[in-house]
Symmetry: C2
Subunit: 145 residues, 2 copies
Amino acid sequence: MQVLSKASINGLRALLYLAAQERREGYTGIREMADELDISFHFLTKILQELTQKGVLRSYRGPNGGVALARDPGTLYLEELVLMMEGDDFFDTCLLGLPGCGERKPCPVHAFWKETKAALKKEFQTTSLEELGQQIRVGKVRLAD
Amino acid sequence: MQVLSKASINGLRALLYLAAQERREGYTGIREMADELDISFHFLTKILQELTQKGVLRSYRGPNGGVALARDPGTLYLEELVLMMEGDDFFDTCLLGLPGCGERKPCPVHAFWKETKAALKKEFQTTSLEELGQQIRVGKVRLAD
DNA sequence: TTTATTAAAGACAAATGACTCTTAAAACGT
DNA sequence: ACGTTTTAAGAGTCATTTGTCTTTAATAAA
C-alpha cells in the first residue's frame, strides 16, 4: 500500500530532517541530506527545487549554501505539504476510482473510505513539522536506518 | 491518493459485478462486463485470467462462456482479494517508506499510520462480496456511472 | 464438420513514475 | 579575475504499470 509517491516521501523526509536540526540559522547542503537520508543527490535536488519554488524552502548557492525552511516549522502542517506535493485532490479520491463518487452516487465502499480519508486528513492537519522534528531530535523516532 | 492499482480496482469491480448478479448459475461474458464497467475488454481479460488462475473465478470458453465466481461470495472477503492482487505485504507498509519501520525503530508517523492500517485491514476482513453485492442489487450503491 | 463464439496466452506498445546526467548559474574565497 | 562549491534547469534513461493486439484453444450450435 503505497500512499505517497517516492518524490513526496523523500521531500517530506528532507523537510523533517531540516525541522529536526538544532540550529536554526544557515543552510543545509543537499549533498549532506542526500547522504544522511540515503537518497540520490540528483533526485533529491530535483524534489527540493520544487519545494523552493513553492515557497516552503529557501535556497542559497555557493560555498556553505544549501536549503533551509522558509517558514517556521510550527506553521507547516503535513496537510499543506502533502497537498502541495501530491495535488489538491489528494483527499478526494474514490477507493474504486469511480469519477464523481459521493453521497449521491456512492461506490460500494464509499461510506467507510470517507471516514478513513477524514481521519487521515485530520491527522495531517494537526501534525506540524515542528512537532515531528522534536520527536526526531529526542531520538524517539528515525528518518533513516 | 491512489491506494489500489488500476488492475486491482478493475478486478474488484468485476468481482462485485458478478456478486451483484441475480442469477447464480451460468457464466458472464467478459465482453459484457467490460462494456458495463467501462473497462477495455482486453485489459479486463488479462486481469480476470489471473483471478481465474488463483481460484477465485472459474471460466468457460465457447458460446455462452465467460467467468463466474468459483466460491460462495459470502466467503470472499475484501482482504483476501486485495492481498491476492496487491501482494501479501499490502498492510505492512511504512508511510515514509522506511525499511523495517516498526515499534522498535518507528518513523515519525508510525503510531498513527499503524492505527489507520489496522482499521482498513479490519474493514476489509469483515466485508464480503456477498454483502457489497447485495447493496449493489438494491441500488444503494453503484459500480460505474 | 464447419462456423461462430468465447476465454487463454503472450507479444507488443504507450504512458507514467523514478531516477540520472550534463550543463548552466550563482556565490564565495583567494 | 579565477577556481571551487553549491543549487537550478532540463534533457535523457530506465523500470513498472497500463493498455492493445494477435494468435491459439476450447466449446457449442448449425
